[in-house]
Point group: C2
Chain length 529, copies 2
């Protein structure tokens, strides 16, 4: 009986593709579902820029097939990133067939594809560096009995190409691994393809984060926006200020990310071509910071005396800026990415307004009663501090909206649902690069196939010059953590986030819902497997 059970579980991945027939309820609105047909592009997701699949079929034998560096390639066996990727994709492609005890000694037949040669022509293979927003991600490959990838630039592009290659492999009617001769020229439409996970509202165990980094790579996402701390908890274990997580985390030992945890996550991401951009959001969303750091937050007043509760970061104390200097100096060493996200969203002024010292400070500074000026005062100083660490910064749109002076390489993160196009227009008119999240708040769930809504969103539909459009470098899907933890995160996120992945990678004209549905259904099966 239990053998049956196991068998059923293994085959689960197969069935999820089939059962999608609709059912009409009398009292519910259901979007019309796309037709589930066969796409000429098989299960490719996201769709490459140019792809030509011929009818010539090769077989891939688990016994003879291997991925290796072409002789002329500028990167070789010493490149851990490459070797790790070869092994991973070899495993993806042959997981089940290798189980039958095959070994690699078998000779390839004439119609076998026996090799995948990787040919990197860049002088600088950058095997040990981190991916960056300027990474050239374009690649070409030509399918022959021997396959070559040609890369003009960086090694981390390879990962995306291997992903594409593995998506081309299918089982024929006899279960034999097969691949059609295929020519691909590919590059992403947007350089910044991010996913935000929130580890403050609910702590996410490391294995959940790693699993989702894996899924990100399958969907060619390349930025993990780690919203690591917020009001509810402070799980980041700081070497400089260990009391922050000691008092601010849900649990000081079990629900924190230690320096070695963080390092592991960054390395796991790097091996998949993914940047890790941490967000330390201030001056709002900082309740948990106040538990371990005395005098950091503004004391709120009830009438003439402190009420015992606290508001945003206290912007009038020099100690605040001393703290931030030391804290972001550490952040700079821990997180190698060129950018850090500084938040700056949703600052509630009521506590500041209640505090007589703040009122006096406002007067001294000549801010009148305009508390957004006080907010800008704080942010401005924070930005100056972070600038000295040589990091670029990303900020939520309010910081721009409030007229804070920003460095020219600042990335403005547009998230508010109202007047999205107007905001994109303004930000790019001011010459700032920007990324978009407004249409992609994946924590908002609704009945039915809401991936279509995410898929339809078009980041460049606003009015603006070509130069302005070029400043939109991408977008991020956000999964805020109010109602998400390890028990439901993965099925809630995928394949819904895949819709965003294709929108950010593929050509603007790739919008056929029926074709997308067919490819996405197969892509989902592969992910579940």
């Amino acid at each position: 009986m239990f053998a049956t059970l196991k068998f059923a579980a293994l085959l689960l991945a197969v069935v999820v593709c089939w059962a999608t027939q609709d059912y009409d309820y009398n009292d519910a609105e259901i979007d019309e579902e796309p037709t589930l047909g066969d796409s000429p592009y098989g299960s490719l997701w996201p769709l490459p820029q140019k792809v030509q699949i011929s009818t010539v079929v090769f077989k891939l034998s688990g016994a003879s097939f291997h991925i290796f560096d072409a002789k002329a390639s500028s990167s070789g066996a010493s490149c851990r990133l490459l070797q790790n990727a070869y092994r991973r994709y070899d495993e993806y492609i042959f997981t089940s067939s290798r189980k039958q005890g095959q070994n690699k000694s078998k000779k390839a037949l004439a119609s076998d594809m026996s090799e995948l040669q990787v040919w990197i022509t860049s002088a600088d293979s950058e095997c040990d560096s981190y991916p960056s927003v300027t990474s050239d991600e374009s690649c070409e490959f030509t399918g022959m009995v021997f396959v070559f990838f040609h890369f003009s630039h960086l090694a981390d592009t390879l990962i995306q190409s291997l992903e594409t290659f593995s998506q081309l492999v299918y089982k024929d009617e006899y279960g034999a691994k097969s691949i059609n001769r295929t020519d691909i020229h590919d590059f992403p439409r947007f350089a910044h393809r991010g996913l935000l996970l929130d580890t403050s509202r609910h702590f996410l165990p490391i294995k959940v984060i790693l699993a989702n980094l894996e899924a990100m790579a399958w969907n060619k996402f390349n930025v993990f926006h780690w919203h690591i701390v917020d009001d509810p908890s402070f799980p980041y274990l700081s070497r400089t200020f260990p009391q922050l997580s000691q008092h601010g985390a849900y649990h000081p030992y079990t629900h924190v990310y230690t320096p070695s945890d963080v390092k592991m996550i960054i390395e796991f991401a790097r091996l998949r071509g993914i940047r890790v951009v941490p967000e330390f959001d201030t001056p709002g969303h900082t309740q948990s910071w106040g538990k371990g750091q005395k005098d950091l937050l503004t004391p709120c007043y009830s009438g003439a005396s402190p009420s015992g509760s606290f508001g945003p970061v206290n912007p009038m104390l020099n100690t605040t800026y001393d703290f931030m200097s030391m804290f972001f100096k550490e952040v700079n060493t821990v997180f190698p990415d060129a950018y850090v996200h500084l938040g700056g969203d949703e600052v509630d002024f009521s506590c500041w307004k209640s505090n007589p010292d703040i009122q006096k400070f406002m007067e001294q500074q000549g801010f009148g009663t305009d508390y957004s000026k006080l907010e800008s005062f704080y942010i401005q100083r924070l930005l100056d501090i972070v600038t000295t660490t040589n990091k670029g910064y990303m900020i939520w749109q309010e910081v721009f909206d409030n007229g804070v002076k920003l460095k020219s390489d600042t990335v403005v993160h547009v998230w508010m649902g109202n007047k999205v196009e107007e905001e994109l227009q303004k930000v790019t008119e001011a010459g700032f690069t920007t990324i978009l999240s407004a249409p992609w708040y994946l924590d908002y769930i609704s009945y039915g196939q809401d991936w279509q809504k995410f898929y339809r969103a078009e980041p460049l539909s606003f009015k603006g010059t070509d130069a302005q459009k070029k400043l939109v470098i991408g977008g991020e899907a956000c999964l805020w953590g109010e109602y998400v933890d390890a028990t439901n995160l993965t099925p809630r996120l995928w394949p819904r986030a895949s819709a965003v992945g294709e929108r950010l990678w593929s050509d603007r004209d790739v919008r056929d819902l029926n074709d997308a549905y067919s490819r996405l259904a197969k892509h989902r099966c592969r992910m579940v497997q």
Copy 2:
């Protein structure tokens, strides 16, 4: 590093209770969340009818505590249902502490609670029978150093009492298992507390079904409504008509429920006090039946010739009724419950209308153009067939609405979202027992804490006499399978279904959202663990 990982995963269950702070978005409506305080009733869910928790605390030592039959109990070691329940709850209570290699030889201290004696006073312990809608589920227990359960009637009530007992056990600040002296008198408000799972739209592996039966027991649900077949697939492997699943299942071997699978599920449910009521829905929702059974479905016409597609069951052929007789004879032997659900919902008349033979038949029968009469004609004959098998039947509300003549013990299942109270009034006025699902379609998801919506629903808010109210024997939470499979079923269902569990078990006046939220949060942690 990996030791850390494991530790984090183990502790996951603890954190999910804590992280529920709200976050305001500018552009979204969020229901106000209840306050997360401490309930005087700890983590009891659903809340018993009468409960008094004293401040006297006993410790439960994993080494000395055991559950056993009181000497005077009418059931003993030969009762598999009891022994199985004792073992299960012993494991629930002591899972973690037993791991430290304790054995049971240790003597109990004075303040220890060392025994839980189960005293069944019913003459008929019914250890080997199946739970039924008439099971007396009331129980009392008094907490002392020796605990007694008193049962006036059936053994399966015991399972619910053990669940309550295990919910009273908590860890004190030192981690020691503790229980307060507690007096409880308990019984369910409604006899029928069901959960519908749909295994046709997506096949559910057996382990998913078993896991959810377990969760049902933790929430005192007592009916598993198994919507086993429908349009998309026919996973029920019939001994009499094996071709039904051979051609109608997603896969004839891996995506079917064999006779032994069904038997295992029924037994697993029985040991948890849960009835299994299968639904074989006809004459609509039967596309998958037609694949294995020739001439069962009505051929649709396009103009003067058959279109190649099929509609509902063909009601004019005698072969249809021969088939149904044999099929439900088998169903009667496979499923021991006194009831079977015969469906009867959402019959689409367009195919019948297109078919000239059906038109002729309508004329002969004097139905005019009223196709609901044809539907009733079919259902009437089906009900007569099932009546000969000595099974009672449940049907969806349309069958009643269409005026089909029903046996007096028929259960009418109210599911339509419009005019719910009016429908309950009509059904009970006609003297039929009824169960309610309309407010509890759990497949409809929305952002935020929608458990409150399910919790607030009140089955007896319609106008009617006391006698009418008594005819409402309960309700069912429904999780239809369009967008649900093994990857997301459990986190989507729980703890949302728990809200329905308490509504159906506890007193009508148990409606305090803050108190419920506090207990539910803890109950959820326990379930995750």
